[in-house]
């Protein structure tokens, strides 16, 4: 099964959302779902650096920083590094189904700005085991994630 594309009407709706609430929702979700597994990593050299994640097919831009206690949403502004891909490709990356370099060669992933920062975060995330991350998620979410990965792999 392939991960489904984002339904068009929903995409149109998302693209009308302002960045700030979306960034806040993203940071909140990140802190809830991913942070338990990520807090172990050494984020000291990343602290305060500004990230922008552009979901190209949704026209969505997320701005945030990472600190010792988790993600923090930012108002629109300048970013130190920008990651651009489609919602589906971001999802496949998060589920460890796709290799970022492969996406880059195929022009489906772009890292602009501070390349070292971008690669360093990419490599740090690669070093986290999905099983560990899923185990750290609250109330059954981890099982959902692993199930989703399993389905998408077939």
């Amino acid at each position: 099964m392939k991960l489904p594309n984002f339904p068009k009407p929903l995409a149109r709706f998302v693209s009308t959302l302002p960045s700030w609430p979306a960034s806040r929702a993203f940071a909140a979700a990140g802190n809830l779902l991913a942070w338990p597994a990520l807090r172990e990593l050494d984020w000291s050299h990343v602290a305060g650096r500004r990230f922008r994640v552009q979901v190209s097919d949704l026209g969505l831009k997320l701005y945030f920083t990472v600190h010792a206690n988790g993600f923090r949403a930012l108002h629109n502004g300048l970013a130190d590094v920008t990651f651009t891909a489609t919602a589906q490709d971001f999802a496949r990356l998060a589920l460890r189904l796709e290799d970022p370099d492969t996406l880059f060669f195929n022009r489906r992933l772009l890292i602009e700005g501070d390349t070292n920062l971008g690669l360093s975060v990419k490599n740090m995330l690669d070093a986290v085991e999905l099983e560990t991350a899923a185990a750290g998620m609250p109330a059954g979410m981890g099982r959902v994630v692993m199930k989703l990965r399993h389905l998408a792999q077939r």
């Binding site: 370099d101 060669f105 772009l110 602009e112 390349t115 070093a127």
Partner: protein
Amino acid sequence: MPALLELICPAGSLPALKAAVDNGADGVYLGLKDNTNARNFAGLNFDAKSLTEGIRYAHNKGVKVLMALNTYPQPDTVSRWHQAVDTAATSGLDAIILADPGLMAYARKVHPNLRLHLSVQGSATSYEAVNFYRERFGIQRAVLPRVLSLPQVENVVNNTDVEIELFGFGGLCVMVEGRCLLSSYACGDSPNTFGACSPGHAVRWQQTPKGMETRLNGVLIDRYADDEKAGYPTLCKGRFDVQGETYYALEEPTSLNSMEMLPEMARIGIAAIKIEGRQRSPAYVAQVTQVWRAAIDAVKKDQAAFKPNPAWMAQLNKVSEGSMSTLGAYYRPWK
């Protein structure tokens, strides 16, 4: 029995190591989080904790762990390389992969039982060179640079006791490894001393009205139209102008894939096949290891009947630079 076509896979992180082990590698190679190895990228590689865990995981499943210490120690920081050798010796690793003769002398003297491999970064392309390292430091295996044709490789194999390891798949160095300073000419850091070609701090990607541009310390490596595949930001894979013609003057963005030569490699007695890509994700390691495990098993079962399965080749091309692959120098006309 001498080693034959062992599958040696890359691990830039613990999940990548596990992916290699779980998908059929005979050995994994890894490096520490500093410039003692030639994949010195931020966030990549192993610290004391992940190293211990990685060795435990691999050894439990009978898989060897090799450590690359394949950059060149420099006068003021030699002790960092010495410590890395000491770490390797006490951690129960199966071998270390070295390029520098001075470091080999240290390893030989202080840890005489530690198995030594000659890294591709040592640039040994003849049996005279390989035998030099054998006599002096007792190396047991050499990884040859990606510059010899297969008959030339055979000539090396026939004239040395040292096991020969060849690159099977992955990023393709066009230049003799250990003898390429293109990166430092443009940005000050080379694989030999810094441990990375085109290090992240010097690379910039930017979408512009003319296309996506890749620069190394300001030097334009290439500019891609929207429908063009991209390559790594290395100078040897860029497009340049020679006599008014713009083309890939050194090499296209492409990966090495020598799978169709596996029967020949088995015949001449190649001890191990190396898969490139410590900078890549666990997803890549899992996919590539799986395919090569199947291919090597097939060759060992029946050399004569072996043909690369089209599904394998498609899988490998998918993860290749520019989605293309080449036989490289193994096939003489490439030169």
